[in-house]
Amino acid sequence: MTDHDAAGGGAARFVGQSIKRVEDPRLVTGHGRYVDDIVLPGMLHAAFLRSDYARARIAMVDISRATAMAGVHAVFTAAELNHHVDSLAASVNPRDAPKTPAHVLAAGDVRFVGDPIALVLADSRYLAEDALELIDIEYEPLTPVIDFESAADSVDLVHPELGSNLGSSVSSVDSNLSAVFAAAETVITETFHQHRQCNMPMETRGIVAHWEPFAGRLDVWASTQSPHELTATAARILGLGQHQVRVHMGDVGGAFGQKIFVGREEMALLLAARDVARPVKWIEDRRENLIAANSARVDRVKVSMAVNGDGVILGAQIDHLTDSGAYPNGGKPASGSNMVSMFPGPYRMSNLGWTTATVYTNTLGRGAYRGPWQMETVARELMMDRVAAEIGVDPLEFRRRNIISEDELPYTTATGRVYENITPSETLEQAVSMLDYEQFRIQQSDARSVGRLLGVGISACIEPTSAGRGALGSEGATVRVERDGNVNVFIGTGSHGQSLETTIAQVVADQLGISMDSISFHQGHGTPYGFGTGGSRSAVIAGGAARAAAIGVREKILSIAAELLEAASADLGIEDGFVSVAGTPSRRVSLAVVANTAYSDPEALPDGIEGGLEHAARFQAPPVTYSNATHVCTCEVDPATGLVTILRYIVSEDCGVMVNPMVVEGQIAGGVVQGIGGALYEEARYDLDGNPLTTTLMDYLIPTAAEVPLIEYGHIVTPSNTPGGHKGVGEGGAIAAPPCVLNAVNDALACMNVNLTHLAATPDAIVTALAAALA
């Protein structure tokens, strides 16, 4: 039996089941191992002196008093460290990508509040922070560039060496568009803004590094999504070979994109580690995380959309601007290419013209955050409701007239994306059916007659997952059966909450016919190269690699067992760790015996089979694997206070074959709640001088359990073209949720002539808009 369907050679005992997680026993008992739990003899602790100004010259910095303080071992500034690093670029950046200046520490001037200026290493974090107060520094403040909408025209330069605040600007003209607009029944133009948000994982950034000069070896532990990216960067900036760097991957407390690339502080730590040749540890505190890790989602999109008399979308022009801050993560300014190319989403839209640009400002650098391009869904779904209102059609009906359904596939968008195996129309219908949309409209009308404002919002998206290009396009896995029949799996991922320790084991266990207890999962040092975990790629790409490696081992197991059992491979199956002849369960041999034969008894091996029992495989993903979802939610808005209560939240999603449905729902829920946060609660704010105003969790407000509704799920399963039939799903919740919520709020407020085009819809924004509408 060597069929390579979704279950491979074995019965699908684990894939498709909501298997309880392998990670949990240690995590629920407080025995996880996060980077701050790493304690090494002689370890020094780091703290950074950070800029108090958004833009200023450093007139003087004197570290002598700090260096002299008891308990302080070293103080580093740009003078000691910067010359080692000629680029902040991530190893996977396109060669021709623009580059931000490579200042590891601020050198002569500071470019955002929080810009790291000096690094102190001391016996404890307490002492290191004491030492920061002994660093004497004088600033000459300069006029900062804070407003991203005017940054490109400002004479003040965030990075003088670049000569411009414009990071990049790309456009595409659709030559049909002006004719389409001229002939259209209606053309509507609206501009939408999304505000600054922060990834805000529960665990801040952190790193421990230990350079042993006589071993010629660097050991690193970090809160990271990508141990291999960290390996490559550490090697590059320290002038080491990648074989000299060992990144040990432990438990990571969330990231959502913040920890995929190596930041300036981590680079500074690595350089300092080489200098002192003792273990050094830096654990970021929450204030630092909110002002210096990364921010996201500062986007503005102007949309002009043309529709005909039947409410069919004919085309659109979008003009997009995003803020990259001072030091965008990964060493290059943000790219809008995914944003513009995904703009059509799940709707037929034959013509699209677009421009996208990004600017630098003296604020916190932009980093990846769960669906970094999602402004396309935010703007598009808000625009759908806007246009529907303008032409007098219910927003559901307007979507029905334009949404793509299965029978139109494969479908090629105006931006050249080819959709296959997706179900936009089907998820739309499932979601509104779960709500009972017609019934809700009746409830809404009844409520309005007693002065209560209820609203419904819809948001449909296509999620481009598992991007299969370049360094991101493949993952490798090695599956090895040890001499006692238990299995080690080595894979290049960086699981930080995605449950890969469990889901990868499910895949391998199914192929090898063993229990999940028999499998140990390894990430980091010693694993094959992989980009890491992010971009909704693990089920397809890492899962694909694990599957292929396990199938390779399975074939060898069967060949050896066939020799031992004097049977044909095709007649054998593996179950509960035993290989047996189909129909004759007593004729069997354990995996331990097979393994022992492979390692210790070469005479007993069949001809042409080498010793050992492991297989390494690399899975190349197709260019992209689309998943899709429709979100529908209802809310009530209290017009007196502007408080919004979400009543029901429904997600109908199609992520293909689910490895673990419980994990899928958990990923969706987490993304949805981040999206609710972005729509209603979370705002990272700066004042006009570039001072961050939200530096604590009492100011940057993420939803608590009291703010979230029960999330209801509908699942549609349309397998992808990949061997397991899986698709990515991790980012979708955060992509579709913000406009779903804002559409619901606007629907509730429509009768009051209020329509919000800016996120977040805070109580103040709502009350102010209501007062203005009544005036």
Binding site: G642, Y681, D699, T704, A706, P763
Partner: protein, 254 residues
């Protein structure tokens, strides 16, 4: 304050061991609560609920239960955050603050105690030791309302209201105190005066909200604008006045 690196005292005195300050005593028509009495105790104590209902109504709004396990009523009052609940109750009821130092003990009236955000009339060598809350003995009803961004957050704006009726349905005494509008809790004397002598059925709650906010100068911050606090403050006053009146009218005459 220390966790936010805003305060770096040279010396810190831990009062947790001073058990005499943890007490609830009914004395001569008032309720004397020791400064170290935990917030969760204040919120759960039946004597407090009976004698000073505003304290019981306000307590659930204070942060989260883990905070209320350690936080104290004296701590909240002495800290004087403009959005805090207990200072508002103190001001609403004209409570007296008992303050001690090596020089002796004195009492400070609520109206004089709160001077501004995080600023009180406590001298640098003085310790708040107890709060003496007047007990409204007649037919009275109370309401405490606040609006916050999320459950348990600092209030954007809030109000404490007490209404006492005479033997029929006329208001004999009214107290309205607002939090989160100015830098310290403020009473609403114009609205209170308008309520006294009015029959419950004739109360124009909306007008009371307007009167209460009119003289106040609200503050902007990142969570809410001054205008928001004014509008929503007025709304909460009207809701709380209605609720307190209703509760007062439901009390059986003795």
């Amino acid at each position: 304050m220390m966790a936010l690196r805003l305060a770096r005292p040279e010396h810190l005195v831990d009062l947790n061991g001073v058990t005499e300050l943890d007490s609830v005593q009914a004395i001569d028509g008032l309720l004397r609560i020791g400064a170290m009495t935990r917030q969760f105790v204040v919120g759960a104590d039946s004597t407090v609920a009976d004698q000073v209902p505003l304290l019981a109504l306000a307590t659930p709004y204070i942060g989260h239960f883990q905070i209320r396990n350690r936080g104290t009523v004296g701590g909240s009052v002495a800290h004087a955050d403009p959005s805090a609940e207990y200072p508002t109750v103190v001001v609403a009821l004209d409570a007296e603050l008992e303050v001690s130092s090596t020089r002796g003990t004195r009492r400070i009236g609520a109206a004089e105690f709160f001077e501004g955000p995080m600023m009180t009339a406590l001298g640098p060598d003085e310790l708040l030791t107890a709060i003496r809350f007047p007990v409204w003995a007649g037919r009275s009803g109370f309401s405490f309302r606040e609006v916050s961004r999320r459950h348990g957050d600092f209030a954007l704006v809030g109000v404490a209201v007490g209404i006492e009726l005479d033997e029929s349905t006329t208001i004999r005494r009214a107290a309205i105190a607002l939090l989160g509008v100015e830098g310290r809790p403020r009473r609403a004397p114009d609205a209170e005066a308008a309520l006294v002598g009015t029959a419950i059925s004739a109360v124009d709650a909306g007008e009371m909200g307007r009167l209460a906010l009119k003289p106040l100068r609200a503050t902007d911050d990142i969570h809410a604008s001054a205008e928001y606090r004014r509008r929503v403050g007025a709304h909460l006053v009207s809701q709380a006045v209605e609720e307190a009146c209703r509760r007062a009218s439901e009390v059986d005459g003795d």
